[in-house]
Amino acid sequence: MKEEKDKISLAEMEDGRSGIIDSIAGGRNLVKRLADLGITRGAAIKMLRTTLFSGPVQVEVFGSRFVLGHGMASKIIVIPDER
């Protein structure tokens, strides 16, 4: 098992880094909406782009690219892969 401290929010991930989604700390509607896109617990996620001043992030999940608002990204908890 991973240590608690290894978990970070998606919003904190650097460009190019990937990891596995550990949990999504949001309301059911949000979690469902994300799950419909394949963004769900256990999915591999890769950070493609972050923007200045904590703007939205661009991520890749199962080969599809999505843009997520910053608030949403900070609710997605990720266990980053070892570098």
Binding site: R28, R33, L37, L52, Q58, G63, R65
Partner: protein, 643 residues
């Protein structure tokens, strides 16, 4: 005609899967649009005559899932369940198989006959994704047809398949989920015998476990014991899976989709980055991305405006010729002049539509088809959030710079009512091409270009503050951006033409009635000789507060029709186009500021009315008139100190 054999099919799919290309290819010119009953969401229908069949095609709104979250989704799901179309054509993006399959699984849960179109199969191949569609067919037990909708490939195969399947009814079974979930589902369905609800039982059970609010409400009303049981089973599932039972099925679907994808796809990894991926990296870059955006949008406006100015000055003498002909052949009587003002209303629409809106739309849809517009939403999201809306709203602003009418219409892409409304209000403050004619023709020419650009920056600041205010005033949570980022692809002429044509048609249909009627009314007031009375009635505002010549009262009334009329009429009333002789610099800037904000033009009012009802529209109109007068008066006083 042998058209007695009727089939009706609906097209369903997530955004960016090429659904509209399929629709346009199949129905061509036999299309009609309307609204879904009681909703401002567009309903697209068309007809295809193929072999002996009349195939009615309905394009469902682009949706991401069939869980009740937005109006579009509810419309689609209810339509499929209650209208029972012969076939649902599920259009899948082959390059994003997994995401699309989640949606497909939800469709299959609705127990409707599905045919899958594996669209953009050529792009998938280019990306090194090989799909064994035969395997998908046998796993899901539905027909699968590879297509390239943008080139029309494979689309008649779909219809062939529809006809074939129509004649020998296929067997059907929805995909199964994990054992304990199926157990819960069958416990619930066994309680539903004799329940009078149009939805499939298994689907109802799934929705109950997913805690779909609408369905729980429905079931609690008709058979409360089932809702209680579902709640109980949900708690059991929660214990097994360790998290919210509402999500167990969503999880299950995405795992099933992942599993299916693994079985049917062979990936050949790329050795190097493709051209398009590199393009994506540059255009979304922290710094370079913004620079490129400014260049692209700047280039776009520059070319639209130079083309527009050229064409509109070329059209001017033509229309004047027609007016002369009208006067000569019908004579200058009260009725003839009124009649001409109706004709002029129509001409005016074309005078905006042809030189400005048409080229603007063509360029916009090229960018859209190419995939760039989504990048703008991404880059601008943070900034737009400061105004209480998310990145997609930026697109409406950009369109609004061309013309506020399509700008307001494009607000439909926003997810919630609140965001649609805020965005639409803000769009009416965006200086459109007609306002630009005033700003550059008056301020740019006689006061200096720097002042003209300064006014644009001023408009942006006003827009920003208005955004902040309206997002504070209108209660509700701002929605966060979730958007699929399409890959870049070569734009297709056909789909660009179709989209441009549709948008142009919509502009004319919505705007025409009010533009013509108000044109006639204002002309009648003018002919009755009431204008001087009205303008002196407005004197306290125009002369005392704004320091403008008295005749601007008349101009501002005509400006409601089309804002550039302010400039045209000014020249006509003064008998000179040398405005510097009659207006001071301060007066020009003040007039430009009033024109920018004072009232959305009649065409824009028509759209607001159409989309948001007359009450909200009147509030916007009155508020903006008061605001513009107040603002311009303040500007004048500041200018008097500076100049």
């Amino acid at each position: 005609m042998s058209g007695e054999k009727k089939i009706n099919i609906v097209l369903a799919g997530q955004g960016n899967t090429g659904k509209s290309s399929v629709f346009n290819f199949l129905t061509g010119l036999h299309q009609h649009t309307g609204n879904w009953a009681g909703k401002t969401i567009e309903k697209l229908e068309g007809t295809l005559y193929y072999r002996d069949y009349t195939v009615d095609v309905l394009d469902l709104p682009g949706i991401y899932s069939l869980t009740t979250l937005s109006v579009e989704e509810v419309i689609s799901r209810d339509y499929i369940v209650t209208q029972k179309p012969d076939f649902v054509i599920d259009i899948i993006d082959s390059t994003n198989l997994e995401r699309s399959l989640i949606f497909t699984l939800q469709l299959l849960e609705l127990e409707c006959p599905v045919i899958i179109a594996l669209n953009m199969i050529d792009l998938a191949k280019k990306k090194g994704i090989e799909i064994y569609h035969g395997r998908l067919e046998s796993i899901l037990n539905v027909p699968v047809i590879p297509t390239v909708a943008s080139r029309g490939r494979g689309l008649t195969d779909i219809i062939d398949k529809v006809i074939e399947q129509k004649e020998n009814k296929p067997s059907f079974r929805p995909p199964g989920y994990g054992k304990e979930i199926e157990e819960c589902i069958s416990q619930l369905t066994s309680m539903m015998d004799g329940l009078d609800i149009p939805y499939p039982k298994r689907w109802l059970a799934i929705k109950l476990i997913e805690k779909d609010t609408d369905i729980i409400k429905l079931i609690s009303r008709k058979a409360p014991e089932i809702a209680v049981k579902a709640d109980e089973l949900g708690k059991q599932l929660e214990e097994i899976h360790g998290h919210d039972s509402g999500l167990v099925i969503a999880d299950e679907r995405s795992h099933l989709a992942a599993q299916i994808t693994r079985e049917i796809v062979k990936m050949t990894p790329h050795r190097k980055m493709s051209m398009n991926e590199r393009l994506d990296l540059i255009t979304t870059h922290k710094f370079a991305g913004y620079l490129i955006m400014v260049l692209i949008l700047g280039g776009m406006f520059l070319s639209v405006f130079s083309f527009g100015n050229w064409l509109s000055s070329a059209l001017e003498p033509v229309f004047r010729g027609w007016h002369d002909w009208w006067n000569e052949s019908i004579g200058i009587t009260f009725l003839a002049t009124i009649g001409w003002s109706a004709v002029e209303g129509v001409l005016a629409l074309f005078q905006i539509a042809l030189p400005y809106i048409l080229p603007f739309y063509i360029l916009l849809y090229i960018l859209e088809d190419w995939g760039y517009i989504a990048r703008i939403s991404f880059l601008m999201d943070k900034f737009m959030h400061k105004m209480g809306i998310h990145g997609k709203g930026c697109i409406s602003f950009i369109i609004g710079l061309g013309c506020n009418v399509p700008g307001c219409l494009s607000c439909r892409i926003m997810e919630t009512k609140r965001e649609r409304f805020i965005t639409a209000v803000l769009v009416t403050l965006v200086p459109c091409s007609a306002v630009s004619v005033i700003v550059f023709g008056l301020v740019g020419k006689y006061v200096g270009l720097a002042w003209a650009f300064g006014l644009y920056i001023f408009a942006m600041i006003v827009l920003f503050i208005a955004g902040k205010l309206s997002s504070k005033l209108l209660l509700g949570e701002p929605v966060e951006l979730i958007m699929h980022m399409p890959g870049y692809k070569t734009p297709h002429l056909r789909s660009i033409m179709v989209q441009t044509w549709d948008a142009l048609k919509e502009f004319v249909y919505i705007a025409a009635p009010l533009v013509i009627i108000s044109g006639v009314v204002i002309q009648a007031i003018n002919l009755a000789g009431w204008m001087p009375a009205i303008s002196s009635f407005l004197n306290p505002v125009t002369v005392s507060w704004l320091g403008l010549p008295s005749i601007t009262g008349i101009l501002l009334i005509f400006g409601i029709l089309r804002k550039e009329l302010i400039l045209v009429m000014l020249a006509a009333y003064l008998g000179t186009a040398e405005f510097a002789e009659v207006l001071t610099e301060s007066q020009m800037i003040t007039l430009a500021v009033v024109s920018m904000f004072y009232v959305p033009c009649v065409a824009t009012i028509s759209v607001l009315w159409n989309e948001y009802g007359w009450k909200k529209t009147m509030v916007i109109v009155v508020a903006e008139i008061l605001f513009a007068i107040l603002l311009a008066g303040v500007v004048k006083r500041v200018l008097d100190l500076v100049l």
